[in-house]
Symmetry: C2
């Protein structure tokens, strides 16, 4: 069954009904993608939009159409759908809103009518009230400025805005997407079917999901369990509180369901539960560019004693431990780091290690400590800014040496090593440092706290999988 | 007693002992400040540093010196302090480390010796092992790139790195400082004396404190209670966990003390407790540019339904409520906002309100709802980027109109109205929008969640003060 969704992600041709410059976020990117020769605009009122030819009806399009995007008023959707049926269209993505999410009976009835027509022609529906599909590999886009290169992350979302935002979050955080689906009211293609398909998708290695509620609960438990066995499924459940559930009802017209049932379900299927999109991105970065630690012991490496203390507290809050280094580790560190102004017990607070070039050696010593299962290295861009005046290549050299050291620790010691490039008043300089580490495929975070949250969730994920077996 | 610290913040002349380009972060900014004519470098080994004359000893400085910064090795501090005593120096800030924070007995003994000499001459000591004082009004600086303009925030910190970072955080978040003190090992001038002074300081309207432990607990409770009566005291306690307390012991050589005692103390004196520096900045922004809400009911105004749902959950998690608008409010909103694609129940999820210019009217309607005590308006820079192509002044117009509306709601309805300018892939465009709102003295956050945390803490703060009376 899940194979049937291939046409949703890899249509051979696409039509946009209701083409106008108001939906330039579909027209511009798709007309520049590999689908460009097979992308047809439809609008009976105009002959051209943004310099592209418009057909009066989908029935006038001279070639077969696999996939149609509806940007037409809700009331004309049934008629347009009939036309699509006659044309042999196989998937219709309804961008338009004005259906069950309004809470009005007419919206509900309209959805029922649409589903009936779709079923009669064997058309699959994405939506209504959603952004649809982003699949850079096939050429489907749903916003300006989305990356045209693919990556291993799939994301499915009942929210259109968050589908777009999460792609941007990935851009910022250093990961790309295989497939993203904003499926809105989920009249036909729903959560369960999508994750089932993505579990088998060879281009996807991790699945994120933003879900407010599920219409079809048949097979939910078994499917999610099967999916989680294959790849991590990271779920952000919207509408966990009563107020949130009310907002969800207004948003996508689905009942958010009991929080307790959902929490139990997520636990039972061993999915990863997160509360914010930032936490989802944190986990994805850790999974893609690092791996779960073997234990809770983390070493914090920083240039600020205050950061060391506050982040020790926050690591413990997240269920990690910041154990004191062994006597041997401390003795080895003492050989290369003078005592004044440094702490060599864990956290390793050693400004001079960053300054003098002995940081790789110090990290190697720390990584051999058996109490330590992971490392977080804090890099404060503001602290480096001053050195660029003396040596313009300082960032290149520093990021390369630190990056290579982290990679070696991960591959040789099997200990995830995260880099926290902190927020600074030099956004471009900070972005430069972050990008350099990201281009080395390293796990980059904006704070030690973020990295700690990721490590904690990765550890829990690993433990869950081990119990499973 | 507290008035005695005036000379700490407003010295008439400053000397730097151990001047070298390694401490250019003192030399450059102070030699460009209003103290420049009264700033003297001391170093027996060189005659010039960074183009400025060096005296061999402080005793050779031709004028009286109020305040000396020690950037000399720990072992020579006693001798240098004797010289300062003879010179009539009144405050010595010891930047140098290598004292009790090393955990070694010799560091402890050295501190005792230093304190004895200081007492014999009546010299006050800041530190050792710290950045010292930043007071833009008088010309004292402890880092490059610190703002030279003053503001109403005082911050005292046992961590030097975090003292500097928090000034940068303020720069980013739109607030400035009256006085910042990094006081390190707190051998002499300590937490209690500093907050006591700042409570009376007319240039300070809110005090932030990062504290790991307190050496002198005499009068602690009474002082903090007195301070909290006058202005908000926002405390981040480092070393709340066992691992964090160990890190604190390595950092500033003080025992972090029991978490429970501290939590009890902070509660008893009605200080505001935070866990991260970001949370501290959130509260400060809310206090300076808004005020506590009269109740827990918040309205979220956004352009994304997913954001509406997730943030409703997060608001509830933080102790707020997202109540449904009254029937009257919904009816009024319905008059100006078409139903499709919008939710008008709270959250108000209305892209077209942002797009069509009716946002101010919608906010005014919402602000009159008696269930609503505060508003958070989410602005997604990515969503606006596209309009700049059509109208280059769109940002100016939009921020001005929205900003004026928020100000009016605050002044006329008495409801704090926060603006969340979300993180985007256009950092400069985002910074431009943020700065425009900040320059209007509006409370700007990076997410609805951050704004909600601030509102929640502001509400708690207000409740605590009311119980107090």
């Amino acid at each position: 069954m899940s194979r049937n969704l291939d046409v949703v992600f890899y249509p051979r041709s696409v039509a946009l009904l209701g083409a106008s410059k108001d939906v330039s976020f579909y027209i511009n990117p798709i007309s520049s993608s590999r689908l460009r020769e097979k992308f047809f605009l439809v609008n009976p009122r105009v002959s051209e939009v943004l310099g592209l030819k418009c057909y009066p009806s989908i029935l006038d399009v001279p070639e077969p159409v696999d996939y149609a995007i509806f940007a037409v008023p809700a009331r004309v959707v049934p008629e347009a759908l009939e036309d699509c049926g006659r044309k042999g269209v196989r998937v219709v993505h309804i961008y338009s809103s004005g259906f069950s999410e309004t809470g009005l009976e007419e919206g509900q009835l309209l959805e029922e009518e649409v589903l009936k027509i779709a079923r009669s022609y064997g058309i699959r529906i994405i939506g209504p009230n959603c952004m649809g599909v982003y699949c850079p590999e096939s050429g489907l886009f749903f916003s300006h400025d989305l990356p045209s290169e693919s990556g291993p992350v799939a994301f499915i979302s009942q929210s259109g805005g968050q589908a777009v935002n999460f792609v941007f979050e990935g851009l910022w955080r250093g990961f790309r997407f295989s497939k993203v689906v904003s499926y809105g009211n989920a009249l036909d293609v729903d959560f369960v079917e999508l994750v089932d398909y993505l579990a088998e998708d060879p281009k996807t290695s991790i699945i994120g999901a933003y879900v407010e509620g599920v219409r079809k609960t048949e097979g939910l438990l078994e499917t999610l369990r099967r999916v989680s066995e294959k790849k991590p499924l990271v779920v952000l459940k919207g509408g966990r509180t009563e107020d949130g559930a009310q907002a969800a009802a207004s948003h996508t017209g689905v009942l958010a369901g009991s929080t307790k049932i959902w929490e139990g379900l997520i636990k039972q299927v061993r999915a990863v539960s997160v509360e914010t999109f930032e936490d989802m991105a944190d986990f994805i970065v850790g999974f893609l560019y690092a791996f779960p630690p073997e234990g809770r012991g983390v070493s914090i490496v920083t240039t600020s004693g205050g950061s060391a203390v506050v982040h020790s507290d926050l690591c413990v809050k997240e269920g990690l431990k910041v154990p004191r280094f062994s006597e041997e580790t401390q003795a080895e560190l003492r050989k290369i780091i003078p005592v004044a102004g440094a702490s060599i017990r864990n956290p390793l607070d050693a400004w001079m290690a960053f300054q003098s070039g002995i940081l790789p050696e110090a990290l190697n010593i720390v990584s051999r400590d058996t109490n330590i299962h992971s490392l977080i290295v804090e890099v404060q861009p503001a602290g480096f800014k001053v050195y660029t005046a003396r040596d313009p290549n300082v960032v290149d050299k520093f990021t390369f040496i630190l990056g290579e050291t982290c990679k070696k620790i991960m591959s040789e010691q099997g200990k995830p090593t995260m880099i926290a490039v902190t927020k600074s008043i030099y956004p471009e300089f900070e972005a430069e440092i972050r990008s350099k580490f990201q281009s080395m495929n390293l796990p980059v975070y904006q704070s030690i706290y973020e990295a700690a949250k990721a490590l904690s969730k990765l550890y829990l994920y690993k433990q869950n999988r081990e119990t499973q077996r």
